[in-house]
């Protein structure tokens, strides 16, 4: 059976909803990814011998927010996303090596340095925001809103509010 491109986001979205239900029912785990990033980053610091013991962040629940929490369900979940996306892309021949996103090049040009600078600054802002809000589009957006949490409805609305305004500023005058 061929899924039309129009139906794709609905079909796979529904499958993801069933998967979330199964994960909660079987493993008791909701989807989430962003906590893994500060854990990985602080884990690398610890690995190279950096002493974090006087950081308040590292003292929360005996280091549960740092690399000491590894390996855990979420780390494997995040790694699995990579494995699953790779397999699906290979099978359907949609794997495509790309140097820069086309939409970015249309607006900002093909200079690599510009993209790298924006990527790092944007990545830092995004992760501070996600951990401050208590989740990203998977943790708050999908898992949190599915639980009908007021915090998650607000966070998801703010993600899009911040995103739409910023995209408008960044891409104004760019070709649609």
């Amino acid at each position: 059976m061929k899924i039309t491109s129009q139906a794709r986001p609905y079909v796979y979205g529904a499958l993801a909803g069933l998967l979330l239900t199964a994960s909660v029912g079987i493993a008791g785990q909701f989807f989430g990814t962003s906590t893994t990033f500060p854990r990985a980053a602080t884990g690398v610091l610890q690995l190279v011998g950096f002493d974090l013991s006087n950081w308040e962040f590292a003292q929360v629940r005996d280091g549960a927010l740092t690399g000491l929490a590894f390996p855990n369900w979420q780390l494997l979940f995040v790694m699995g996303i990579g494995v699953g996306a790779f397999i699906a892309a290979r099978i359907t021949r949609t794997f495509k090596a790309e140097a820069l996103p086309q939409m970015w090049v249309d607006r900002f040009g093909a200079k690599k340095g510009t993209r790298i600078a924006y990527s790092i600054v944007g990545g830092v802002i995004a992760m501070i925001g996600a951990r401050m809000a208590g989740g990203c589009p998977s943790g708050h957006g999908v898992s949190g809103v599915s639980q009908l949490g007021v915090s998650s409805f607000i966070a998801l609305a703010m993600f899009f509010a911040g995103g739409v305004v910023t995209a408008r500023i960044l891409y104004k005058g760019g070709t649609a």
């Binding site: 500060p38 996303i81 990579g82 996600a130 999908v142 007021v150 703010m158 995103g163 408008r168």
Partner: protein, 174 residues
């Protein structure tokens, strides 16, 4: 066992994200530029199906859960900051890993940024907890509790709202 389940769940979720094409830069930024609503369709469908599923399990007594704590300070400031960064990099944390796996190698720079952001957040953590977290802090509260109605009413409203939104998107070719 927990680790194996995490891996299996991740593999399936990654495959669904890839096949729905929501891990692409053009889809993510396209949504924020209000040109392409693919990621909104995917997310809302997942939310409607997921909320029916987990509340069914909860009503059957199979699982129990409490929504994440509400702090207006954290969710409003953090949410807006995330949105700003999200529009700049064109990926969220989960999709960045998927995008790397389908060959979009330029996503390593946003991933480096996200990891550095994790360290910056760790350093800011005490100040955030002291100054921002107490603003409008209400603990774990769900929308049905707040409104004093059955969760099924809220889920039904969500489903009907999603249906009309999807119809609007499809008519406009978004």
């Amino acid at each position: 066992m927990t680790l194996i389940l995490g891996l299996i769940t991740g593999v399936l979720f990654g495959a669904f994200l890839q096949q729905a094409e929501v891990i692409r830069f053009e889809r993510q930024v396209g949504a924020m530029r209000l040109m392409d609503m693919t990621i909104v369709k995917f997310m809302l469908t997942t939310i409607v199906v997921g909320s029916i599923g987990i509340y069914l399990l909860s009503d059957l007594g199979a699982v129990s859960f409490a929504p994440r704590s509400l702090s207006l300070g954290l969710q409003i400031v953090g949410g807006l900051l995330f949105g700003i960064g999200w529009a700049i990099i064109g990926y969220c944390p989960g999709t960045s890993i998927g995008a790397l796996a389908e060959g979009r190698f330029h996503v390593v720079w946003p991933i480096v940024g996200l990891l550095l952001g994790g360290i910056v957040f760790a350093l800011l953590y005490p100040a955030i907890q002291t100054h921002l977290a107490p603003i409008g802090s209400f603990g774990s509260v769900s929308l049905p509790e707040l409104l004093g109605i059955s969760h099924w009413f809220v889920i039904a409203a969500l489903a009907v709202g999603a249906f009309f939104l999807f119809r609007f998107f499809e008519r406009k070719g978004l």
